[in-house]
Amino acid sequence: MRINQFAMTKVSSIQAWIDAGYVLFSENGLEAIQIEPLSRAIGLNKSGFYHYFGDRESFLEAIMEHHMKHAKNVTVEYSQMKQLLPDMVDILMRYRLSVMVHMQLVRNKHNAYLFENYNKINAIVDQSILPCWAEYTGLSNNLPVAMQYLQMVRDMFYARITPESFTAEFLSTTLKDAGDFVRDLRQKEKPVV
């Protein structure tokens, strides 16, 4: 019994470190991963950190694993979207924390490990958005172009998003503009009969 309790405590305090690290990372990126403020934030002793993670690098790996877990969850939701609008906005709003972490990966891309994670996760997530996105933009018959456009909008989005601008309205406008752009581009080409 005592052993089980101990095991529970260990697992939950590891999780507490990771959860707190995830939140701080979403706010201030790599700089935020300082053991001292983290231990103060969660009220756990620094020695626990070194015991569980060893060093900052391993801790960062644990945070990225955590991020990947969220990414895998979101792909399930994306692949079940019926319509891009408003479904994608709802999902993004619910995954706000992960979206902000992902934004930090772009901002901290001078760290090769973080940039690698950004690309790795994008590769999975983009695929899950693609069918609905292709339909929304009317590019279903040319999926490579739909994908290229999706990735462009994605990187633009991550360049622009801030904690202040992260609202359902901003997300809707971004997606609406992305769709209107394609539709307008075609209509301009076609003489109205």
Binding site: L30, E31, V106, R107, K109, H110, F115, G138, L139, S140, N141, N142, V145, Q148, Y149, M152, V153, D155, M156, Y158, A159, R160, T162, D177, F181, V182, R183, D184, L185, R186, Q187, K188, E189, K190
Partner: protein, 192 residues
């Protein structure tokens, strides 16, 4: 060494470090070590880190003006635009880093100012390159999208001729493909 020369050393090193690491690269201790200068020299010339950052912002504006001036010589967008831009790759990386520090007043103001300068210089020739009509509001929309995507993607390692020209060609190809898609896409069904 003359005062101006020493100041320039600090600013140029700080600028280069900012390009690779952003604000985190601007540690007095680190720059002093890399320059082989005493930290006291830094404090004598700049007083504090924030004033140094202001000097870096001023330097960035000067670099950007010089880039804009050189861009007047672009004849063929490819390769001229890419070659000129790459001559200023440190400045481009600094602009990319500044975009990260939206919460820092000096940096954000400088970023916006330079963005405006560069947009103004690049937009007309880029629109022509991509083949979008000049009066179309979407041309500006697309330009800004490509610009922000560009800052999301570039790193010190991929900022080279092949990467940049490929990226520009891709943005042009996307427009062509979207338009071609028109003849067989779902939109066509609605307009027989």
């Amino acid at each position: 060494m003359k005062k101006e020369n020493t100041m320039r050393l600090w600013v140029e090193k700080g600028y280069a470090n900012f390009a690779t690491h952003g604000l985190e690269g601007i540690q007095v201790e680190r720059i002093a070590r890399e320059l082989g200068l005493n930290k006291s020299s830094f404090y004598r010339y700049f007083g504090e880190r924030e004033l140094f950052i202001e000097e870096l912002a001023k330097h960035h504006c000067a670099v950007s003006l010089s880039l804009v001036n050189d861009l007047r010589n672009v004849k063929d967008f490819l390769p001229d635009f890419v070659n000129i831009t790459l001559k200023y790759s440190t400045g481009i990386l600094v602009q990319m880093q500044m975009a990260r520090h939206k919460d820092h007043k000096t940096l954000h103001e400088c970023f916006s100012k330079v963005n405006l300068l560069l947009d103004h210089a690049i937009l007309p020739m880029w629109i022509e390159f991509v083949g979008l009509p000049r009066d179309q509001k979407w041309a500006i929309h697309y330009f800004e999208m490509v610009r922000d995507m560009f800052y999301s993607r570039i790193t010190i390692d991929n900022l080279n001729y092949d990467y940049l020209s490929e990226l520009l060609k891709e943005t042009k190809k996307l427009i062509v493909e979207i338009r071609q898609n028109d003849s067989k896409g779902p939109m066509f069904i609605n307009h027989p």
